[in-house]
Symmetry: C2
Subunit: 272 residues, 2 copies
């Protein structure tokens, strides 16, 4: 069965849009983009389009690739203090001369719609409620919940340990009482771990989940999205080979991608 | 082979004491104790004894069990601002009327020798260097390093997911490129997971690791320490049954316990 991220994301966007329509002071999301990385430009455009769709005001602030870190930090400070701005997002990646962690953690945790600041990461890792959960793992949980997939006691395998997906995903699965195995490029017997899992969440950006599953009740979540050598958009999972051997699977595109956007808009509609 | 926490901890304490002896301004650790929980009183006494042994000044500040949270927060603020105080530690557990997270995160991250503040937890979870690593997982890593036990690519099973041991242990194992499985009371097939692991770290407080290991090269780390029904000090691991089937194992007492104290003193000797 397909986990239809497109359909579920539309439902969530609709709920967000209804909530926003009732707000006297509309949320205002500021997106900071440094340089002109083509993928980043597309992502930012999609985020702004989604914001418009749900009635959230959004503003793009662009900086040249060679912007000084101090300028970025100054702008973030200004936005933190601006009561008309309710959400701030710095599009990643940042150029190498910028210290990503410093820039991200300069954002007020109360406006950190990506949930990437040290404060929000720390709150999540302490088992406290962060002001914002990171969009992709939160979107995955929303999708699983929509299909009533039980996580408690499940064996979840998370492939990849980025700050954006893998690491917060571990925390959010632990919060749901899953048994979580975090795999990375050093993992031995990855195939064995995948085949026997109840839930596989792959966030690598390579075709890494190829084997048929032993567990017919398994759930496969494909976070990877990239173009293969033929220019086709594809994910981490060999969908055609695996889909018959599982209970639920996300397609690429139309799975985690739209859920991430919907989850981000859900965050952007939260005003502290 | 026994992982001799007693011996290694003495080595570390000696190194700390040499470093402290060369410092013009000696570190000063303040320990805050609320109430008279007998175990806490013992722990605090042991910490102060170890501090004295390595030349770190320590001061105990005791509050009655019914102290108001504001009073605690006020004291912590005062200690944060006191340049003569280099480390602050709030002995856990705290009484139920106190919000533990608020009190702990009131400590300056630069004096948070337990590494429990949101800032230090968040830095660790982001893959940044925290100002202090939590004492128990850091002590375990120190012990493994002393015996040159390689973690990269190993299958590590962590049982228990407390903020004090299990959760930071996951992060520190990920930093060493281990594949980490986090188990909890909802985990199915726990015995199977244990038997096939390369490293088992159990921090539960119950006799939960009982089975012989399939993996003869495995390493067993027992963080549990409590008195059994006969009043004997014991741990999570059925040492007598398992020890013959593994490569390395920590005893209880004399394993993780002294390493935790040494690791805490290592932290207390760091001055920002």
């Amino acid at each position: 069965m397909i986990l239809d991220g497109k359909k579920v994301s539309e439902k969530i966007l609709k709920e967000v849009s209804i909530r926003v329509s009732k707000m006297d002071n509309k949320p205002h999301l500021v997106v900071i983009l440094v340089g002109e990385n083509p993928a980043s430009v597309v992502y930012v455009k999609n985020k702004q389009k989604a914001a418009e769709q749900v009635g959230i005001k959004s503003t793009l602030i662009s900086f040249p690739n060679n912007v000084e870190q101090e300028i970025l930090l100054g702008k973030i400070k200004e936005l933190n203090e601006d009561s008309q701005v309710t959400g701030i997002l710095v599009q990643l990646p940042l150029p190498k001369h910028i210290d990503k962690n410093s820039v991200i953690s300069a954002i007020s945790p109360l406006k950190d719609v990506d949930g990437f600041t040290i404060e929000n990461v720390g709150r999540l890792a302490c088992g406290m409620k962060p002001y914002f959960y990171p969009a992709t793992p939160q979107g995955i949980i929303m999708l699983l919940d929509e299909y009533n997939i039980n996580l408690e006691g499940s064996n979840a395998v998370v492939i990849g340990r980025s700050n954006i997906v893998g690491k917060p995903m571990i925390q959010m699965l632990l919060n749901r009482n899953a048994t979580v195995t975090s795999c990375n490029s050093f993992t031995r017997d990855l195939e064995e771990k995948i085949k026997t899992a109840d839930i596989v969440i792959s966030a690598v950006g390579k075709k890494i989940v190829r084997c048929k599953m032993d567990n017919k009740n398994s759930v496969i979540i494909d976070v990877g999205i990239y173009r293969d050598s033929n220019g086709q958009i594809t994910g981490d999972v060999d969908f055609d080979n695996i889909s018959e051997s599982v209970a639920y699977i996300t397609p690429v595109p139309g799975g985690v991608g739209p859920m991430t956007i919907a989850s981000l808009m859900y965050n952007a509609s939260i005003v502290y």
